[in-house]
């Protein structure tokens, strides 16, 4: 993992000290709310429906066990004993008091963490494939690039007051688990035919009220030219992006209003205008950063584990978890293990302080002390030996964390919704809870197979509903909560925006509608077909009819 250098330490501590002074001035009245609001937002502090909310950055979703324990400690001392892991690989605390926030930021700084640039019109926390460095289908590790971009974008004077927020995601694998085509900039790291490392660059993607799939800017940007090319995109956006209407201020609007050809031309022009030869420093810095992400010396293990096979035969519950919650690892004899934060009837992405500590303990015992946060609001252990998988599951299960549902129907992604959020128009979590209860039976979940259900409590789409196989959007309709369903969304390399199905459902009818759709799918699918495949074979209209049958 990356470790702060002296500059990082000093910078983060200075920011905490500055914010402590700003809070003191706010409390004495030297700063009014209009003056203070942009300052607190720059430090990740929002005011929500019931309380303040602090959003803490977890760069590219990577956490050490020590950091996870500190997050648990903060939850216990300064919050109500839990935190919420988000679709952007952050953690949010829902109940901090303003007077305590500087102390919380100091505790974060103690473990090389902060809340800087988790809000405001700046470059936000850079996200990446949660399986970075370990996925079997990986071409190159995206984390050094994400770290380079984090350093470059932190407190960047030119890009601290953009027209609107700006999100960058990086992947280095064939399968896109970083949702790069729905980011302001998406990068796919790979090696070209001559073995040169570089990036396929996408721009202008996004979800929110105007979902758009990014356009490809370039097939290949050599890694030494990455910052120059990203800077060119940022400069064009900063100069040309709309500032008159916040709903039209994201880069996706600029790209699609100008058209891909013109936007690309402007970026190319800017790219060649940027003076200086930065190639050597960028490459040098990347090599320095890469030294923090060297793969651990994995023991030379056979691919198959007799211990694992035996445990799976003897313990059916473990076997189910091992089938559902593990992913292929690049090192023989290892797997990536997913810890689901989606218990039946739970709030998606929430973890108590005790659960955080249990996950930290599991990381120390079974995953070289490292954890990741995924866009699905789950926690990933990246370095697990197959021989030790059963022992890991036993430890997780004892902590209530051995839930076998990764990427299944009860692995519902949901934003906090109107239970917490001041912007929301409807609740998300109770709908997610009802879905997990309705489809709780493990054998039914395995029969249904992989499916993504994603819920947002308003059009800002923090629950990524546009890219769910089934997307649920909570709205207000004639003074009551109503839920609009979209079908066919896809966050992966085959990106698609879900298509609206028709009139919304009341809160007490939405899960019934989903159940009708699932039964229809089970009755009509061909052998081995996933929900996504059946949807594409039968088409939107037939699937939509199932939703409304007997409605």
């Amino acid at each position: 993992m990356y470790r702060y250098d002296d500059f990082d330490y000093r910078f983060v501590r200075e920011r905490v000290s500055q914010f402590r002074g700003q809070v003191e001035r706010r409390l004495t009245g030297a700063l009014n709310e209009e003056e203070f609001k942009p300052l607190r937002l720059m430090n990740g502090l929002y005011l929500q429906l019931h309380a303040y909310m602090l959003r803490v950055a977890i760069p590219y979703g990577t956490l050490s066990s020590r950091q996870m324990r500190q997050l648990a400690q903060i939850a216990e001392v300064y919050d109500r004993g839990y935190g919420h892991f988000t679709t952007r690989q952050n953690i949010q605390y829902n109940w901090p008091k303003l007077k305590d926030v500087p102390d919380i930021l100091d505790m974060l700084a103690d473990v090389e963490m902060h809340a800087i640039q988790t809000s405001g019109n700046c470059i936000r926390n850079v996200t990446a494939d949660p399986y970075g460095g370990v996925a079997a289908d990986e071409i190159a590790d995206p984390r050094p690039t994400a770290e380079l971009l984090r350093q470059w974008s932190s407190n960047h004077p030119e890009f601290s007051f953009l027209p609107r927020k700006f999100k960058v995601a990086v992947t280095g694998a064939r399968a896109d688990r970083a949702v790069i085509k729905f980011h302001d900039i998406g990068l796919r790291l790979f090696e070209n035919a001559s073995g040169q490392r570089g990036y396929e660059v996408w721009a202008g993607g996004g979800l929110g009220r105007t979902p758009m799939i990014a356009i490809k800017m370039r097939d290949f940007v050599p890694e030494a030219e990455l910052l120059r090319y990203v800077e060119a995109i940022m400069r064009v956006y900063n100069a040309e992006g709309r500032r008159d209407n916040k709903y039209k201020a994201r880069i996706k609007i600029l790209v699609h209003e100008q058209g891909g050809e013109q936007f690309r031309a402007l970026v190319e022009e800017e790219f060649y205008r940027i003076a200086g030869d930065e190639a050597a420093p960028v490459e040098k810095e990347l090599r320095r950063i890469e030294s923090f992400f060297q793969p651990p010396a994995h023991p030379d293990l056979p691919e198959d584990s007799h211990a694992l096979a035996g445990a799976m035969l003897r313990h059916p519950e473990f076997a189910r978890w091992a089938r559902v919650n593990t992913r292929a690892h690049k090192a023989a004899g290892h797997v990536i293990a997913v810890i689901s934060l989606k218990p039946t009837g739970g709030a998606p992405g929430d973890a108590t302080a005790d659960e955080m500590r249990s996950m930290a303990d599991a990381a120390d015992a079974f995953s070289l002390g490292e954890l990741r946060v995924s866009a699905e609001q789950n926690i990933v252990l990246p370095y697990v030996r197959k021989d030790e998988l059963f022992a890991l599951w036993q430890a997780l299960d004892a902590a209530g964390l051995g839930i076998a549902n990764a990427e299944m129907i009860s692995d519902v992604v949901a934003c906090p919704g109107l239970d917490y959020c001041a912007l929301a128009t409807a609740r998300s979590i109770p709908i997610a809870q009802e879905i997990t209860e309705r489809f709780a039976e493990p054998s039914l979940q395995e029969k249904i197979g992989p499916i993504r259900i994603k819920i947002s409590g308003c059009i800002n789409a923090c629950g990524h509903h546009h890219v769910g196989d089934i997307g649920i959007l909570g709205l207000e309709k004639t003074g009551a909560e109503a839920y609009q369903i979209t079908l066919g969304g896809d966050p992966s390399e085959t990106a698609a925006i879900g298509e609206r199905s028709g009139p919304g459902f009341p809160a007490d009818g939405v899960v019934d509608a989903i159940e009708r759709l699932i039964h229809f799918y089970l009755g009509r699918r061909s052998d081995g077909e996933t929900f996504k495949q059946t949807y594409h074979r039968l088409g939107h209209d037939l699937m939509k009819e199932a939703l409304y049958a007997a409605h």
Partner: protein
Amino acid sequence: MAKKSKLQIVTANHLLEGHSVFLSDAGWTPEHWRARVALGAEQATDLEAAGRSDEDANLVVGVYLVDVELDASGDPQPTHYREKLRVRARPSFWPDEPSPMRLAPSARFSAEVSHVSL
């Protein structure tokens, strides 16, 4: 038939603690049913102005009016589902029981909040 006057209360967030509060005859309280009720537009304007003066005095933040109706006990209850959720002071899926905050508002909070005469 004459149009019924709208009933409203004023809410905000406590600056220091962040939780939602309501303007009562005795100052700001986390208990919405104690809130002073404005009858009609003129009283609502005065009530909101009183709230804003406390915002200027750095006691609360984010002042706004909430439509209410009176329940059988004569206490104001919000009419919109958003505000019904807000007055619970907790997520809707948590058990419906008085929060510690409601049972024992902090001494510091009480001491800081000034009485607002209307």
